[in-house]
Amino acid sequence: MGMKFVVLVVIVLAVIAIAQIMRVYELSSKIRGNKEEDIDLRVNNINASLMLIFLIILFGSFFWMLAIYGNGTLPEPASVLGEKIHWLFNINWIIVIAIFLLCNGLLFIFAWKYSYHPDRKAHWFPHDNKLEMIWTVVPAAVLAVIIILGLMTWNEVTGKPSDDAIVVELYAKQFDWTARYSGDDNKLGYADYKLVGTAEDKNTGTTYNNPFGLITDNSVHWRILGLNNEITEIEKNLRMESNDSVAYSQAKLNKMNAKVEKLERIRERVLDMFGMFNDSIDAFAKDDFVTKELFMVKDQEYFFVLRSQDVLHSAYFPHFRAQMNCVPGQRTSLKITPKYTTAEFREKIGNPEFNYILMCNKICGVSHSNMKMAVIVGTQDEFEAWKVGPLSTPAINDSIIAPIDDIDKERMPWPEPAHHGDHDDSDHEADDHAIEGDDHTEGH
């Protein structure tokens, strides 16, 4: 507090001092008969010269920074599409720099050159149709080139991946990434956010975990079991309250009741999922494996399917010049074909400690800036070894079988589930799967 007070006093004193100096200045200019609105030729010329000096400093520092940083400071792109984007960037960068130099140059040079003189009169030049035509048509032509080149690259970047692209899911949540490889079938198992959770079989004590909400008959059973457990738990507490063994506030009671109802509604929606899939679809998930590190094989095309569990994130691979948002409740995608292994790239840029990185580039919460994943590019052999290594685990563990017969699958009597035998209502789910399914034919 004392500190703050001293600071304030100093500020107040400083203001008073400046005000006094101003007073003196004003009085003296009054005596000399100077008026603020009059143009003092000397001062006017100083300003005009400063225009030129500023221009020189501006351009000078610009070229100096260009010399140090070029068109940015990232190392050269490490992916096939990245190179195309980089090429386009360079072309645009040159055009942009040319316009920047031309326009700022003219502006400050005119500002310097045509400084006021009382003997001169400005040139009367209110308009000139020909000139105006030129600077409409020329920018339009330049822009046409930019647009055409840009859209060509854009179509390539967002176009279909090739048939032998490997499908990998990037699953984002506050504040980490998980990669799910689609396994030997190159097909990602279907997933639904409602299935995310853990469940414990009370009889045997086994627990089952489904952090990505993958769908198999088994995982749906486990989820019902988990929900049943949760509901029973709360209902038990509610019964204890009505027996007077514990006392809850009314608010707490309401909350607990609401929670039960909500869980029951979710349970109904999960129950709807039985029968919508079959064994061959279940199989998609069974060979999926997940890792906390992304491994890519050099020269292999990857098709990433992006998902988010909670809020918007963005998968940003600066070194591959690739980025795409992850949107909850929706699948987005991006393609990367790495060109250099990590080892090659380290050598290229002369930094033996270098590693590729995946970061989050859409504000996603307090630890947004910590959300990252290590990315490795290697050879096929290295990949095979890595894939069976300690870092990768099965995406779903279906060797833990749900106690199917013990699970209460009775539907709620009310409200009447709207979609008994009526498949229209399950459109939403069906859509998800079509997209996520196997094929990456869907454009994103």
């Binding site: 500190m3 005119f110 000139l131 854009w154 580039n361």
Partner: protein
């Protein structure tokens, strides 16, 4: 002042302190109220930016400035809290864009200049105008209040993308901080709508005799198109905000879909965060022109007056303003190239966005040609106008890169974007606002500001502005994401990158601090001159437009007698054959004089 002179306007004349200075319905007073409020808000926003710039340059180091302003709650041991970092960024952006450069800029100058330059006794509705100011005031207070909430202010970014902005469990600022933010912005929009409607009606209906639309100063054209943009786009923001409030409180799912927040599976299903992005940017993009056009209008006037030369291509300038206004409604998707929107749609937005470059280029070339063979007087207003043209160029060219969807992939949400929008919108509009204040200060306060201080202020501001935002482009293409508390992610991955970002961040922050301190010169000059400045003459800059025909002392109804009639456009500077180098709009055309 004579009562008879403006009975037509029906003003009451007995004024108490309250009706004159507080609940005033006089457009000149309301303009000044907007200005002073905006200056206060700008000071807050600049302080916030200095605070988070300190963190960016010296991450995790204890700093007494941080503890001074933020105390133990938000800067324990002088180290900025992560959540508060995002809160500072969010509120800084919100205040700058909406409160300083929308409310402040349009509120001040549309109010001051529309009646004066059109030749009207006041705004069409003084009452609505007053309500507009007080709503602005209320929303400002609310926005500042949110900084003092226990859970902190809104901190999901000024773009408040859901679901982050919907769930308190996702980020603390999305609790009461976001509620206050939404409330404040809703009131702000209401204020802005009342203002805009008033501006439009006044410009259409209350122009004096002879003031054809093609004789209006470009300021008025800019204010007019700005007001139309505001009326068409702000209501969309309100709709977006209302839907968000429902998602937050009623459990609807307009913007949220299949989410698990803090381990809890939520029922909300079927909405789309991308819907919000569309609605937000449908306002958000016109908003940047709402910020920019008035600044361009002000400088058009100032450049012509001080170059003693007609603005080059008056009609092309009007055409460009109209074209920019129209196009600004069909480019919003350039903020969403990588949002998951259909790439074909992205391609369409590339096309429309790059089209906007054409009218912008025309404006730049017209400004430059106006200077060519001019006779330039360097008042502080003229200096800032040249600064504006420069920042409009520098910021405009980087827009070409961002508009190109394939390139946006690389720089989206990096500091390159931050640099781009600060230069093209932030600097241009702030420079325009400074230019306007220096130029019309005599009209507002009847006093002159100190020109020498103004010059020092300009040069320090220009140099530090470029010092801040020039290197920021390189930080951005160097792969530094925005809204990052620090860049430690790169440690252990790409140490070169990390070092380069850190080096430049120090440079940027030092310039930011110099720039912020330089604004003290302006503040001092402004308040000192308000009270002690030299008395202003009626037409200090030898200008042509109507406001310089009103008396220095403010009176209700603006002109003591009849409203003058207008005979020519406002840009007859250095016209051949005339004795003086300016001919006010009220001077009738000579016998065989052509109208420009």
């Amino acid at each position: 002042m004579s009562a008879a002179a403006h009975t037509d306007h029906g003003h009451h004349h007995k004024e108490s302190f309250i009706t004159k200075y507080i609940f005033s319905q006089d457009h000149k007073m309301i303009g000044k109220q907007f200005l002073v409020t905006a200056i206060f808000m700008a000071v807050v926003a600049v302080i916030l930016s200095v605070l988070f710039r300190i963190q960016l340059a010296w991450p995790g180091e204890s700093n007494s400035v941080l503890s001074f302003f933020l105390g133990d709650t938000w800067a324990p041991e002088g180290i900025l809290d992560r959540g508060m970092y995002l809160g500072l960024v969010t509120i800084h952006g919100t205040i700058m864009v909406f409160f300083v450069l929308t409310g402040g800029l349009s509120g001040t100058f549309s109010n001051l200049l529309i009646p004066l330059q059109c030749g009207a006794r006041d705004m069409a509705s003084g009452l609505l105008n007053m309500i507009s100011y007080w709503m602005f005031f209320l929303s400002s207070i609310l926005m500042l209040y949110s900084l003092f909430l226990e859970t902190g202010p809104a901190n999901a970014g000024w773009t408040i993308y859901p679901p982050l902005s919907v769930y308190e469990e996702a980020i603390p600022g999305s609790g009461s901080g976001m509620t206050v933010w939404l409330l404040s912005m809703t009131i702000f929009v209401a204020s802005s709508l009342l203002g805009s409607l008033n501006y439009i009606v006044t410009i259409i209906n209350l122009r004096t005799k002879g003031m054809k639309m093609t004789r209006l100063p470009l300021t008025i054209w800019a204010f007019f198109v700005t007001a139309v943009l505001g009326v068409l786009s702000f209501p969309v923001l309100v709709s977006a905000v209302v839907l968000m409030l429902m998602d937050r409180t009623l459990g609807t799912s307009f913007y949220v879909n299949d989410t698990i927040i803090a381990g809890e599976v939520l029922e909300q299903s079927g909405g789309s965060p991308i819907l919000f992005e569309h609605l937000f940017w449908f306002l958000g993009h016109p908003e940047v022109y709402i910020v920019l056009l008035p600044a361009l209008g002000l400088t058009s006037e100032i450049v012509a007056t001080n170059a003693r030369k007609p603005i080059f291509g008056y009609r092309a300038m009007i055409g460009s303003i109209l074209a920019i206004g129209f196009l600004s409604f069909i480019v919003w998707g350039h903020h969403m190239f990588i949002s998951g929107m259909n790439p074909f749609l992205g391609g369409v937005f590339v096309f429309t966005t790059l089209l906007i470059a054409i009218p912008s280029a025309i404006k730049v070339f017209n400004y430059i040609t106006t200077l060519w063979k001019g006779n330039i007087k360097y008042t502080p207003a003229m200096l800032f106008s040249i600064g504006l043209v420069s920042s409009f160029i520098t910021g405009g060219v980087t827009g070409i890169i961002l508009a190109d969807s394939a390139l946006d992939i690389v720089v989206h949400d990096t500091y390159f974007v931050v640099a781009h929008f600060h230069v093209v919108m932030g600097l241009s509009a702030i420079f325009g606002m400074f230019a306007g204040v220096y130029h019309w200060f005599p009209k507002m306060y009847g006093k002159m500001m100190n020109a020498k201080l103004g010059m020092v202020h300009f040069w320090l501001t220009l140099v530090s502005a470029y010092g801040v935002f020039f290197p920021m482009h390189f930080v951005g293409i160097g792969g530094a994401p925005r809204r990052y508390y620090d860049y430690s992610v790169y440690e252990g991955f790409d140490s070169n990158q990390y070092e380069m970002i850190m080096d430049l961040n120090v440079v940027i922050s030092i310039f930011a601090i110099i720039g912020a301190l330089a604004q003290l010169i302006f503040l001092f000059n402004f308040f000192y001159s308000t009270f002690k400045g030299q008395k202003a003459p009626q037409n200090p800059w030898k200008g042509n437009s109507l406001e310089w025909t009103t008396p220095v002392e403010h009176i209700h109804g603006n002109w003591p007698g009849e409203i003058p009639e207008v005979h020519r456009w406002p840009y007859d500077y250095s016209k051949p054959g005339a004795a003086e180098d300016y001919i006010p709009q009220t001077v009738p055309l000579g016998p065989d004089e052509e109208e420009h």
